[in-house]
């Protein structure tokens, strides 16, 4: 019955017990809606046929309601609606109240990606790894504009508002992969701001977590002996990690391939023509300006789609990213201006990401 209704209503699979409960309310509500709808529609049609005009100028009686009619008209729907609410509201309260033993994951939305951070553990882009059968509390915020974290299979959605953390939680039934969407409009990449929830066996998750904590990305964020030995090399490497973390790589390639933004390969000190005329030399000043005020000088052939990182990247990190860009050099002595973007800013449909 559940499966039949779910398919008839085009609902996605149910990833948790909560999703199944919400769906039961859904079935109840939609069935009652249909009953009410068919009831009224049948009455209207019956009246239209039964009392159709047979002769011009037929008089009709004046009929006024008795109080009982209006009481029924108000009381019937009110009772029904309150029953719906009595089921739906406690479910919502449950969704807003994570259990105490839940595992925390920090979720940050930014144009146009999801970043997941585990306390004391790794950061991850786009893929949220969680264990099956354990409650997971999500602490959700945004770095720029409002986004909304949406997992249809869990009937769960929470806006990511800059400057605030909101919480919600879920407990996945079984291992699998599920879609994460952004549900609040956030600009050009709104529909490409996709993530994947990876639900793992608890043991595998624990192993993954242990492994991830040892990964270079996490290690680099901590003090390593390496840092003291060669500060500049470390700065560039840090810049590389930061560029991944801030999502620069979503639009800029490092190997010269054309993408949404100019490739970083051989970008340093390149002479670039600008949209609207003029040229600029891509020195440290310009690279920094492009992070803080990206719309000011847009390289010819690209769209003004880059979000500002003003106030989001601290100074030392800007320096690290610039250092990283400076290391991306080939032997070309006088590189030509960057050819335009490879395709429209949003890589619309990516078959590998849909199910």
């Amino acid at each position: 019955m559940n499966e039949l209704m779910r398919r008839m209503l085009f609902l996605p699979e149910q990833g948790s017990a909560y999703a199944r409960q919400v769906d039961r309310l859904h079935y109840f509500v939609i069935s009652m809606t249909m009953v009410g709808f068919v009831g009224v529609a049948a009455t209207v049609l019956w009246f239209v046929i039964r009392y159709r005009r047979r002769a011009e100028g037929e008089p009709t009686p004046t009929i006024e309601p008795r109080p009982i009619h209006e009481v029924l008209f108000v009381g019937g729907p009110l009772a029904l609606f309150l029953v719906w609410f009595a089921i739906g509201y406690p479910l919502y309260v449950r969704l807003q109240t994570p259990p105490r033993d839940a595992m925390d994951v920090y979720v940050m939305g930014k144009k146009w990606m999801w970043k997941f951070a585990y306390p004391g553990g790794p950061n991850d882009m786009d893929d949220l790894h969680v264990p099956a059968g354990r409650p997971v509390r999500l602490l959700i915020t945004s770095r720029d504009v409002i986004h909304s974290f949406y997992m249809p299979a869990f009937r769960l959605k929470q806006d990511a508002v800059p400057g605030r953390y909101a919480e919600t939680w879920f407990q996945a039934d079984k291992p699998g992969r599920y879609e994460i969407f952004c549900a609040e409009y956030c600009g050009l990449g709104h529909s490409a701001m996709l993530g994947t929830l990876v639900v793992m066996e608890p043991e595998k998750f624990d192993a993954w977590m242990t492994e991830a904590r040892r990964s270079p990305a996490v290690a680099a964020a901590q003090d390593t002996p390496d840092a003291a030995a060669n500060p500049v090399a470390t700065l560039a490497r840090q810049g590389r990690n930061l560029a991944v973390e801030y999502g620069c790589m979503k639009c800029h390639s490092v190997d010269g391939t054309r993408h949404i933004g100019p490739s970083w390969l051989d970008l340093y000190l390149r002479k670039e023509p600008l949209e609207g005329g003029g040229t600029v030399v891509a020195d440290e000043g310009y690279l920094t300006e492009s992070m803080m005020d990206p719309g000011a000088k847009v390289v010819k052939g690209f769209a003004p789609v880059m979000p500002t990182f003003q106030g989001r990247i601290p100074g030392p990190e800007v320096a690290a990213i610039v250092e990283f860009i400076k290391t991306l050099r080939t032997d070309a002595v006088h590189p030509a201006p960057t050819p335009g973007r490879a395709y429209e800013p949003v890589p619309g449909f990516d078959p590998t990401r849909s199910r």
């Binding site: 809606t33 005009r53 209006e70 719906w84 409009y185 429209e344 449909f349």
Partner: protein
């Protein structure tokens, strides 16, 4: 085509009346200047008809572009930026240039004085001003569109709207000016209803369309200033850098949502209440029955206007507002459903033992009932909070409000237009083509928006430029439906326009209606009445077997 005017004895003032009044409000004065400076509420209504219909057409073109873009999962005919601008313009044009001003502007202006036996509205000059405010607001918004247009969505959520590189201010300023026009119209109607009712038309004898306009006007006057304030605050933040909504400057983005919806949710009732009023008139006329539960229908309009102010929080269930707030807003939202249910039941009961003629306007009435019932019930489902979490910002919500806005308001608009057309222009349109158009719109609408409910269930967020391939089939279905819907609108447009040239004179009362506005000639003379009508009965009293009733 139309029923013989002789079927119901015309009101005494019309006895021996001409089929077409040669010297009427349309030709009493001539020249463009006479239109631009007219103080005649009927001419102002006609100007609104031309302007808002143009807006409907423009918004419809944007809608078709969106549907074509969504025909395939990836890019189809436009870039992501163009798509974002197009859905913003679709929303802005449809809401601010069509939905809000259309029915009050056209039919309110034209028929409110006729329905209460007045010669004009209380402030004819303010009335003309409202047209110019509309034109100014529309011109400013158009300027913004020509310069690319904003990409914020019609909701202008901060901080996106204060950080986007596209041109937002003309649209904001345009909406601000249009809001002024809305306030002026509302004020005018309230004063008109209070001061200009003819002898014999007490408050409880007013046609129900007037009641609906009265309730609408109250919302317009009370809520629209909040929109103005909100838009000004966004402008102040943009221009002077004050931190009001932008968290980077210490502001609160959710505050914007509260302020925006404090206007924009009641604005939904600004859009639907006049349509409900028009439907009440049309339904009574074609059922030849008094409206069942006159008081209930009248007061439920006021009830919707009142409760509508306390439901805005249901737009913020997933924004992080407190759980208690969500519960309160959920229950209060259901009360709107109760008032709407009262109307639906009373309309249905009005049909009982009537004498029902299935004509073009009545088909829109049936369609309206269908759409409002389904749109309304899904609205209650959304107010159950838990279900809203899944549906919020998905195509389910899109389908829900299009059921109310297109299904409700546009069906009400078309019912009113086809019902009052003979009175406004004195000509009958082709009944056959009228029915064809209404049927196409009914079918096309369902094929457009029922798939969108399912898309929302499936989890497709709104304002998506591209989408995973599993959403493809339902999107194709929706686009196919939209094509039929567009065709229906073109048929209606052609039918009505052709009637102006080729239509037969309609006569003063082609439908045999006993609404008060039919007591004058078609088209009405410049001063509305050649002789002042009397109002011995309730509007829509068809009880000839009991002629004494309803007198006092």
């Amino acid at each position: 085509m139309s029923p013989s005017p002789a079927s119901i004895p015309p009101a005494p003032a019309d006895a021996g009346a001409p089929l077409y009044l040669e010297r009427n409000y349309l030709n009493a004065r001539r020249g463009l200047w006479s239109w631009l400076t007219t103080l005649d509420h009927k001419r102002i209504g006609v100007m609104y008809l031309v302007l808002t219909s143009a807006a409907l057409f423009l918004g419809g073109i944007f809608a078709m572009l969106l549907r074509i873009e969504l025909l395939t999962p990836g890019p189809t005919i436009m870039s992501a930026l163009a798509y974002n601008r197009t859905f913003t313009l679709h929303g802005v044009v449809m809401i601010f240039l069509f939905m809000i001003p259309a029915i009050p502007g056209i039919f309110g202006n034209f028929f409110l004085p006729l329905m209460i036996g007045a010669r004009d509205v209380a402030f004819p000059r303010l009335n003309l001003l409202s047209v110019y405010l509309y034109l100014t607001g529309a011109a400013i918004a158009l300027y913004g569109m020509i310069h690319g247009g904003a990409d914020t969505g019609w909701t202008f959520y901060t901080p996106y709207s204060t950080t986007t590189v596209t041109m937002v201010w003309p649209i904001l300023l345009g909406a601000f000016v249009l809001g002024m026009g809305s306030i002026v119209t509302g004020l005018n109607f309230i004063v008109t209803v209070h001061t200009l009712r003819a002898p014999g038309i007490g408050f409880m004898r007013m046609p129900l369309f007037v009641w609906a306009l009265y309730a609408t006007s109250i919302i317009q006057v009370l809520a629209t200033p909040v929109l103005g304030i909100t838009l000004l605050l966004v402008a102040v933040e943009n221009v002077f850098g004050f931190g009001i909504f932008d968290p980077a400057r210490g502001g609160d983005p959710v505050l914007f949502q509260h302020m925006f919806w404090f206007y924009s949710h009641p604005a939904v009732y600004i859009m639907i209440l006049p349509a409900m009023g028009a439907i009440t008139e049309v339904l009574s006329a074609f059922a030849r029955k008094n409206t069942f539960g006159y008081r209930a229908v009248a007061f439920s309009s006021l009830g919707i206007a009142f409760v509508g102010f306390f439901t805005w929080g249901h737009h913020l269930f997933t924004s992080g507002q407190s759980t208690v707030d969500a519960g309160i807003f959920g229950v209060l939202s259901m009360f709107v459903g109760i008032f709407t249910a009262i109307k639906i039941f009373n309309w249905t009961a009005t049909l009982y033992r009537g004498s029902i003629a299935i004509r073009t306007p009545f088909i829109y009435v049936i369609a309206f009932l269908f759409f409002l019932l389904f749109g309304g019930m899904t609205g209650i489902a959304l107010a159950t909070v838990a279900l809203d979490v899944h549906w919020q910002d998905t195509y389910f919500v899109v389908a829900h409000f299009h059921f109310i806005m297109v299904g409700g308001t546009v069906a009400g608009f078309l019912a009113a237009l086809t019902y009052w057309w003979p009175k406004m222009f004195g000509k009958s349109y082709s009944e056959r083509w009228g029915i064809v158009g209404a049927t196409l719109i009914f079918l096309g609408f369902n094929f457009t928006f029922i798939p969108q409910f399912l898309l929302g269930n499936e989890g497709m967020p709104r304002r998506y430029y591209s989408y995973p391939v599993r959403f493809w089939p339902l999107n194709v279905a929706s686009t196919a439906g939209a094509s039929v819907l567009a065709l229906g609108f073109l048929v209606v447009l052609a039918t009505l326009l052709l009637s102006l040239k080729y239509g037969k004179p309609a006569g003063p009362n082609p439908w045999g209606s006993r609404g008060y506005e039919w007591k004058t000639l078609s088209p009405p003379p410049e001063g509305n009445f050649l002789t002042q009508p009397t109002y011995p009965r309730m509007p829509h009293d068809y009880d000839d077997l009991n002629p004494g009733r309803g007198g006092h």
